[in-house]
Symmetry: C2
C-alpha cells in the first residue's frame, strides 16, 4: 500500500477547494500575474456593476430589507457574493471551499417560498472552515484531519433554520492559535488592504473576506482575539460574547475538553446593528435547550439611560500602541466627550501576569495534544504554532497543578474586578466601558503578530468585547515616533514594526469592553 | 516541642464550640440523660413560650414583617433562635459555633437603626461552617485545618449587607462529600425526627437545624445533593440553583480549582417564597461585579401562563423508591392533575452512566487532594469518605484523560437534552418539569446513604432543582413490599433498608427539576 505523504494529503484538500472554485460561472479573471499590493481595486474591474453594487454598497440588514421587498432575489445576491468570494480567493487566499451548487440551490429554494423561513431569509452567510458544515469534510487546518467529516454544529443549524445561505468556507491557521492565518494546507492568507500585512487570525479567512467585501455577515471563533483581531486588521465589526452564551459544539480543534479558558463563536459584520441581529437570532432559538451548559438568557441590547463613563486604555503597560492607534483613541475619546460622555484614563492591571496565566491555561498539556495532531501527518509546525506553544510559562501540568492555576486565574479575575469597581471611588460612578485597541496598531506584517494581550485579556476575564472601525493609517498624520524609548523587548519588537509607509491605508479599529 | 495528636487538635475545635455554647443565658437544660428518639418534643419543654412561638410558628418572611412592624425586636428574635440552636446542639449535635455575643451585638445595632439596612433587616440567618465567617476560624471538618482563618465569602457579605444576623454555624461531614454528616471533629449529627436516621449531608447541620426549628433561613452548598438531601431528610425546602449564578468564593474545601462539575451555594428554608427572597437578595447585589465568572442575570421567578406538563420520575431505573416516596409521588401527581396540569411518566435516561461520569469527575486526582488533607493531621478516613473516593470508576487522570472525560460529560448532557426535547414529539408540548424524589425514601439510617443519583443527576446536567416537603412515613399507609424483587445489588441494599416502624414519622419530600 502506498503511503501518502503529508504534502500529497494537503494537495487533496487544495484540489477539493480548487474543484469548488472551478464551478464559478462566468469564471473570474484573468487576473494580473503580479497581484497589486492593495487587492481592493480588483472587484470593480472583475465583477459586473450589479454584482459590485450588491456586494459593495449594503450591510446585511439593508440586504435583508431588499430581499423582503423583492428588490433582489436570494439567487442573484448569492451569485454576486459567490463571485466576489472567488475573486477574494484569487486575491488574498482566504477560501477553503466555495459552495457554488449548494448555495444556489438553497437560494432558489428560498426564493420559491411564499413566506420567509426566518429572520435571515435569503442572506448569504460565510463560515470559518473549522466550524464544519453539514455533509462537508472539516480538517480545521490539520493535515491529519483532511477528509474527516464535520461534526454537528448547532449554531450553523440555527442560522440555517433562520433562512441564511451558506456559500463559502474560509481559512484559519494551523492549530487556530495564531493571530495570523497560515497553515500547511492552504498557505498564507493576506490582508486585502495590503498583501504584505496579515489579515489576522485565527478567523483570518473571514476577516479577509469581509475586508474584501465578499461577505457582509460571517462567523468565527475567539479564545484570545481570533474574531476581534481579524475584525480590527480588516476594518470591520467583530464581537466576542461572554462564553457559555452561544453553543460551542461543532468547533473542531485539538484539546477538546480543555475548559479552563473557553472559546466562543462570534460574528463579523459590516455594521454594529448586525451584531445584535446575530445574537438575537441565535438566542431566540433557545440553544440552552440543546446544550444545558449554556446560560438561558435572551439578547437584550443595552439602551443608555445616562451618559457613559468611558475609560481609555492607551496601552496595556507592556506594549505601547502605534501612532495611528493613539490617534484613533484620541479621536474617539473626543467624540465621546462631544457626545456628553465622561472620559477618563484606564490604568491597566498587571497584564503581564494575566498573559502568563492565560498562556499556561491554553496549553496545560504542554501543547502535546496539538503537537500530536500535527505530527500524525508529518507536517511541520509553522513558526507561530511553535511560538505560542513555547510561551515561557507553558508546562505539562498534572491535575492538581492545573487546579492551582485555576485558582491563580480566579484570584486575578477577582482582583481585576475590584480594580474596576474602585473606579467609582472618586465620584460613585464606576467606569462603564473600556475603550482600547484590539491590536497595538494596524495589521502587522506576516509572522509578527505576537501581541495577544489587547484582546486575550478579555478572554481571561470573560468580558464581552466588540471591535469597530475608526480610521486608516495616514503617513502624514501618523509619523513614527523616533524619540520613543521602548519599555521592554516586546515593546521594542512592536515599536520597530511601525513604518507609516508600509502601513499606509491600512484600517485602524478600536475595541469596547 | 510537643507534637499535638489529631485527637487533641479535634478537641480544640470542640472546646471552641463548647465555649461558644457556654455563653447561653439562661443556660439550656438539664436534658434527660438518655435523649428521646424524636428530639422535637424538647423545645416546648426547654424554651419559654415566647421563644417557642417565635421559633416555631413563623417563616422568614413572616418574621421580617413582624420585625418591620416592631412586633418583635431583632434582639428578642435572635436570642430565641440562639437558645433553640443551643438546644438543637444538645439534641442532635448540629452546631460548630454559637455566635452568642456577635449575634446579640449585631441585633442591637440593627434595632437601633432608624431605617432598615436591607431586605433581611434583623433576621437570624444560619450558615454551614465550611462557608466561613469574617473573623472566625474555618476548618471545613478537616482536623488539619483547625485554627485556619475563614476566606472572604462574598455571599456572606451580601447577606450581611442585606441586614441579616449571623448567629450559628453548623456541621458538615469529613470531605463534605457524604450525603450524611459525620466527621472526626464534631462526630455524628443525627436527624431531629429520629436519632437513628441521618439528617443527610453535606449540609447536614443546617438540615437538622431547620428540621429542629432552630433556623428559618440558612445556607448550604450542593455538588451532588448536599442542600437537597438534608432538606428532604428534614422536611424543609432546599434549592440548588444553576452553577455560576451565585458567587462561590469562600467555600473552603479540598480540590479548589476542580471545575469540571461545579458546586453552588443554596438556601434551606421553611417556605417556598423564602427561596425567591434569597435569590433576589443575592442577585440584586449584582455579584457578577465581584466575580466576572458569574452570569449577570437578575432573579425572575417563573409565573405560569399555561398548565404545566409534569413528568413523574417514579425511580431512576437503578434504585427503586421506598413505599412512602411512591405514595408522595402519587399524591402530588394527583394534586397536579386536580390543578389542571398534564401528568406523564418520566423515562430516566441512563442514570448509571451519568453516575459513572460524575463520580469520576468528582475525583479526577483519584481522591489524592482530599486524602492528603486528611492524612496531614493523621485523622482516619471515615467510612463514607472511603466509600465515595472508591467509587468503581474513580482514577487519577492525566489532563488529556480529564479532557476526554469532559467530552463524555458533554455528550451525555446533549443526549439527555435531546431526550427531554423528544417529550414534545407526541403533542408538541415539551415536559416542563420533572417531579422526582431527592432520595429514594425518607432519611436512611446512619452509614447507609449511598444513593446519590436522585440529586446528583441534576448536578451533572446543571439544572436547577428544588426540594419541598410532602408527607411523613406512615406505618399504616406505607407497608413494606414483601413481594418486591430487587433490580440489582444497589437496589437490594436500598430495598432492605426500609422498615415502616424504623422510619415511622420521618418526613418525605419531593424534588422539582
Amino acid at each position: 500500500m502506498a503511503i501518502t505523504s503529508w504534502q500529497e494529503k494537503a494537495q487533496e484538500a487544495r484540489d477539493y477547494r480548487d474543484a469548488s472554485l472551478a464551478k464559478v460561472k462566468p469564471p473570474i479573471g484573468p487576473l494580473p500575474l503580479s497581484l497589486p499590493v492593495n487587492s481592493l481595486e480588483l472587484p470593480k474591474q472583475h465583477l459586473t456593476p450589479r454584482e459590485y453594487e450588491l456586494t459593495q454598497e449594503y450591510d446585511a440588514i439593508q440586504l435583508l430589507a431588499m430581499l423582503k421587498e423583492k428588490e433582489v432575489t436570494s439567487e442573484e445576491l448569492t451569485r454576486a457574493f459567490l463571485r466576489r468570494a472567488a475573486l477574494a480567493q484569487a486575491a488574498v487566499n482566504c477560501v477553503t471551499e466555495l459552495m457554488w451548487d449548494d448555495a444556489i440551490e438553497r437560494a432558489k429554494f428560498l426564493d420559491a417560498q411564499a413566506e420567509p423561513v426566518g429572520p435571515l431569509h435569503g442572506l448569504p452567510f460565510s463560515v470559518k472552515q473549522q466550524h464544519g458544515m453539514r455533509g462537508k469534510p472539516c480538517h480545521a487546518s490539520y493535515v491529519a484531519w483532511i477528509g474527516e467529516p464535520s461534526t454537528i454544529n448547532p449554531i450553523n443549524d440555527i442560522l440555517w433554520d433562520a433562512g441564511c445561505v451558506f456559500y463559502v468556507r474560509t481559512t484559519e491557521p494551523q492549530s487556530t492559535m495564531h493571530l495570523e492565518c497560515n497553515n500547511n494546507i492552504t498557505g498564507r492568507t493576506v490582508n486585502p488592504y495590503n498583501r504584505n500585512l496579515t489579515p489576522g487570525g485565527s478567523t483570518g479567512g473571514e476577516g479577509a473576506l469581509l475586508g474584501y467585501g465578499a461577505s457582509v455577515f460571517g462567523m468565527g471563533g475567539d479564545i484570545g482575539g481570533s474574531v476581534r483581531g481579524p475584525a480590527s486588521n480588516n476594518g470591520v465589526y467583530g464581537f466576542k460574547p461572554t462564553s457559555k452564551r452561544l453553543p460551542l459544539r461543532g468547533m473542531k480543534c485539538a484539546m477538546i475538553g480543555n475548559e479552563t479558558v473557553m472559546p466562543t463563536f462570534g460574528p463579523l459584520t459590516r455594521r454594529r446593528e448586525t451584531i445584535n441581529l446575530f445574537m438575537d437570532v441565535v438566542l431566540t432559538a433557545e440553544p440552552w435547550r440543546l446544550d444545558p451548559g449554556l446560560f438561558s438568557k435572551s439578547w437584550t441590547p443595552v439602551s443608555l439611560e445616562k451618559p457613559l463613563k468611558v475609560a481609555i486604555q492607551w496601552d496595556d503597560g507592556v506594549v505601547k500602541s502605534h501612532p495611528p492607534m493613539l490617534r484613533a483613541l484620541r479621536e474617539v475619546a473626543q467624540a465621546c466627550r462631544n457626545a456628553g460622555m465622561e472620559v477618563v484614563d484606564w490604568v491597566s492591571y498587571e497584564h503581564e501576569k494575566a498573559w502568563d496565566i492565560l498562556s499556561r491555561l491554553y496549553f496545560p498539556d504542554g501543547g502535546l495534544d496539538t503537537i500530536e495532531v500535527i505530527e500524525k501527518s508529518g507536517e511541520p509546525l509553522v513558526p507561530l504554532t511553535e511560538w505560542i506553544i513555547n510561551q515561557p510559562g507553558v508546562r505539562k501540568l498534572d491535575i492538581r497543578k492545573l487546579w492551582a492555576l485555576c485558582g491563580e486565574r480566579d484570584a486575578y479575575r477577582a482582583a481585576h474586578a475590584a480594580h474596576w469597581s474602585d473606579t467609582a471611588d472618586a465620584d460613585r460612578h464606576e467606569v462603564d466601558v473600556i475603550l482600547c485597541p484590539a491590536v497595538p496598531g494596524a495589521a502587522p506584517p506576516h509572522e509578527c503578530a505576537r501581541c495577544w494581550d489587547y484582546t486575550a485579556q478579555w478572554n481571561l476575564l470573560d468580558y464581552p468585547a466588540v471591535v469597530f472601525p475608526v480610521t486608516y493609517v495616514d503617513a502624514q498624520k501618523d509619523p513614527a515616533n523616533a524619540e520613543y524609548t521602548p519599555l521592554n523587548s516586546q515593546d521594542k519588537f512592536n515599536h520597530e514594526l511601525y513604518d507609516p509607509n508600509l502601513y499606509g491605508g491600512a484600517p485602524v479599529c478600536l475595541q469596547v469592553v
